[in-house]
């Protein structure tokens, strides 16, 4: 028996492997990114046969895992909640087709949101697809549920979703564990085209079959201990009860324990779908009012049908958006108790401190590109070369290019390209020549850039596309891309150069440039823009290639420069606003811009930026 502090995502990895998971696929995205590396670490330490891969996107990940599962193996795929949108096409169909081996889809939610475009709730996706979903409250339970999900999936032949929210994924908890063993089940796909390639007529039958499976699973969940439960005393009636799932359940438990409130019963919902109807009826019967604490959207609240009794996000008793952090839940419970004339919770003094903080007017810390980030150099050059362009961009570290005025739009993965063609046609229709520069990261381009680029070339759109190639998936924690040729477990795969993919999409103008060479980059962007206006031109693609300074410290900075600001600085703040390097700051003591030597990593790119040439090499 070993004991270790596990990250929630590593606990999920442990649960999957304890459940004999043989195939794990994933596309990185906060807060899910550490699951696959967690699996790989345990596979290596315990010598397991589990196959792992970083897939090129979430749909690809799910399709791969699905094929393994219908070969009789246990499989899982991991993604963030918006990744499940990309995999939704696959998910909806897989629900009908069912599975042979256990198939678990892990979709990590981000209430807040801390690192996502939306606060969408995976439990609603599960309901939409009609697949069971388990909602853990902490790492320990996530581990148990990962394994349970595999078991339930295999027994009932249906994919199961596990939905850990960010505070489970990035929680840490001590767990004990024993050595793991490989699952030796061999692939044996049995052909049955009327099932696995079902036509719409048979899909109707499959839908019927799925409904039957859900009924059976619902009965199983009612019988099982530890998923859905309440602590009502038989025959007793309560003025208020709390129904909760996921992270808010853990918070509610802590608050009631700290406040010694044994007068408030709690109903824990671990499987929001299929919903534990029988327990819900008991709870609604015994309680005058039921407060629902859940993240992120309303699901439990919808399923609890008594609108007179139920209070939650829909009724306005709980904030309709945002993370339910402990002090918010504390306030909500306290408010509800007071409104019902029940004894309130203990006093909370956080309000006073919050008021004090407002009074202090602390600097807002917005996220920013790292010192030395090659994307900063690219955005600076792009704006210099094409000041009037619309800048469509995409999802990754480089979305922070908006701090430099280099990002006007961010919709979804791949939209830098599809929106660039959309803008082009919208303006071209009016006979207007609107310059457009799209920026997309290397990993995002592999994820969902090609379909949009093919479409744009095919339909004769014109714009400049800059692929910001830092040779890594940086934002989510440095995962490799297909161009690198390194696979998830560190072994060698086939490297697929971006140039070849772009050429394969039908693009004739392809230039590779190092953005650290700002002058060269500016001139390439100008040339590319000219090409988009040329009668015989078209889409111009620039690959701005420089390694990420965090992932490849030495190799990214072969020639470090010591940079200082001279008295020629006239405090125009051009560098602070347009270059926005964290190492450049306004020093109030000396009355001009200065370099924070602790933050500066010596890339020397800022030497090209000052209009008065006051930034120089020491």
């Amino acid at each position: 028996m070993k004991e270790e502090i596990f990250l929630g995502n590593e606990a999920v990895a442990l649960g999957l492997l304890e459940g004999g998971c043989q195939v794990v696929t994933s596309y990185p995205g906060t807060p899910s990114s550490e699951i696959l590396p967690g699996v790989i670490r345990l596979v290596k330490s315990d010598g397991l046969n589990t196959y792992t891969e970083w897939s090129t996107n979430e749909k690809v990940a799910l399709d791969n895992a699905f094929a393994a599962a219908i070969s009789g193996k246990r499989a899982a795929c991991c993604m963030k909640q918006v990744g499940l949108n990309v995999a939704a096409d696959s998910l909806m169909s897989a629900a009908y087709l069912g599975t042979i081996g256990g198939l678990v889809i892990i979709s990590c939610d981000d209430p807040g949101p801390h690192s996502s475009q939306t606060e969408q709730d995976t439990r609603l996706m599960a309901r939409l697809a009609k697949v069971p979903v388990l909602d853990p409250s902490g790492p320990k339970e996530a581990r148990w549920m990962a394994r349970l999900a595999l078991d339930i999936s295999e027994e009932f032949k249906v994919p199961v979703i596990l939905r850990p929210a960010i505070r489970v994924c990035h929680a840490r908890q001590n767990l004990s564990w024993k050595s793991l063993h490989s699952n030796e089940t061999r692939a044996s796909f049995e052909k049955d085209p009327t099932h696995w390639a079902a036509t719409p007529r048979f899909r109707f039958l499959l839908h019927k079959e799925l409904n039957r499976k859900l009924d059976a699973i619902s009965r199983r969940f009612e019988e099982m201990e530890g998923i859905n439960f309440h602590n009502l005393e038989p025959g007793k009636r309560y003025p208020l009860g709390i129904a909760a799932g996921g992270v808010p359940y853990a918070v509610v438990q802590d608050i009631l324990k700290e406040e010694e409130r044994t007068d408030i019963p709690v109903f824990k919902i671990g499987s929001p779908y299929p919903f534990p109807e029988r327990l819900a009826e008991q709870f609604l019967y015994a309680c005058e009012k039921v407060l629902v604490c859940e993240e992120t959207d309303a699901v439990i609240e919808y399923f609890l049908r008594d609108r007179e009794k139920v209070m939650g996000r829909l009724s306005g008793h709980v904030p309709a958006e945002g993370e339910l952090v402990p002090h918010v839940i504390h306030r909500v419970i306290d408010g509800v108790l007071k409104s019902l004339g029940l004894p309130p919770l203990g006093r909370e003094n956080a309000g006073e401190a919050e008021a004090l903080m407002k009074q202090l007017e602390l600097p807002v810390r917005r996220p920013t590109l790292c010192p030395g980030c090659p994307h900063r150099a690219s955005f600076y050059a792009i704006r210099k070369a094409q000041p009037k362009a619309i800048f469509t961009s995409d999802i990754g570290c480089y979305t922070l290019g908006l701090n430099l005025g280099g990002v006007d739009t961010c919709l979804d993965m791949g939209a830098a390209i599809t929106m660039a063609s959309g803008f082009y046609h919208a303006y071209a229709q009016d006979g207007v020549e609107q310059p457009i520069v799209a920026t997309i990261g290397d990993s995002t381009f592999f994820h969902s850039g090609t379909a949009g680029l093919l479409n744009a070339v095919y339909n004769e759109a014109r714009f400049v596309l800059v692929i910001l190639d830092n040779q890594i998936t940086a934002m989510t924690g440095m995962q490799p891309t297909p161009a690198l040729g390194t696979r998830a477990d560190g072994s060698k795969g086939n490297a697929i150069p971006l140039e070849k993919v772009v050429a394969g999409c039908g693009v004739d103008f392809i230039e590779v440039v190092d953005p650290y060479d700002v002058k060269a980059m500016i001139s390439v962007v100008k040339k590319a823009a000219q090409y988009t206006r040329d009668p015989s031109g078209g889409i111009a693609v620039i690959i701005a290639r420089h390694p990420c300074v965090i992932a490849y410290r030495q190799y990214a900075l072969p020639d470090r420069k010591k940079v200082v600001v001279t008295d020629d600085c006239v405090e125009c703040n051009f560098c602070l606003e347009r270059f926005e390097c964290p190492a450049l700051y306004h020093d109030d003591m000396i009355g001009r811009t200065a370099v924070d030597q602790a933050l500066c990593i010596g890339c020397g790119v800022c030497l090209n930026v000052c209009p008065k040439d006051a930034i120089v090499e020491a």
Partner: protein, 188 residues
């Protein structure tokens, strides 16, 4: 032992997660259940980073505002920003110069709620030892002099030894010891 709530804060890149790991591992070494919450992703890119650590039998990973026993801050403004977490009688350990920190208005708030502020220029100590990035180790070294809960000097130091990467271990310990000495001198 009663449950203990700790909040650690600073800026992305200051090593808050490593500092949290030192404390968590030390507590676990004494058989105390640990639960924590970290910041990853977009929020890590130079923004405010807050990490939570809870010792004892708790369910949730987040410290509720107004209930932290200890606040460890690697940066002054972040110390102010996370002050709402600190509970009555809580202790604030900050990487800040005692000459300017805390500001008078904050000092009177701390006093009113029986909170204690202990600060040291951990960043400068780290710099003097040639590793400006080690202000996290310096602050933990300072903290180790006050025997908070399970966190004795010897146990914290042992954890630093165990989990520091080989190439930084010697400097990490030097910085840790130096700041421990500063705190010990202060107490004398």
């Amino acid at each position: 032992m009663d449950n203990m709530n700790i909040v650690l804060c600073g800026l992305g890149g200051q090593g808050i997660l490593f500092m949290t790991r030192i404390l968590a591992q030390t507590a676990l070494g004494k058989g105390i259940p640990v639960m924590g919450a970290e910041t990853h992703g977009m929020a890590q890119r130079g923004g405010s980073v807050v990490s939570h650590l809870r010792l004892g039998n708790v369910e949730g990973s987040l410290v509720r505002a107004g209930t932290a026993d200890i606040l460890l801050a690697l940066e002054e403004n972040e110390a102010y920003r996370t002050l709402p977490y600190l509970g009555r009688g809580g202790r604030l350990y900050a990487n800040a110069s005692p000459r300017v920190f805390p500001s008078p208005v904050v000092a009177s708030y701390l006093e009113k709620h029986h909170m204690v502020c202990r600060c040291t220029d951990a960043g400068r100590t780290a710099m003097e030892h040639g590793r400006p990035m080690s202000s996290n180790l310096a602050l933990v070294g300072f903290f180790s002099a006050f025997n908070e809960g399970p966190f004795t000097f010897a146990d914290l130091r042992e954890t630093v030894k165990q989990i520091s990467p080989e190439q930084f271990m010697a400097t990490n310990l030097k910085v840790f010891d130096a700041c421990h000495e500063i705190a010990a001198d202060k107490k004398r």
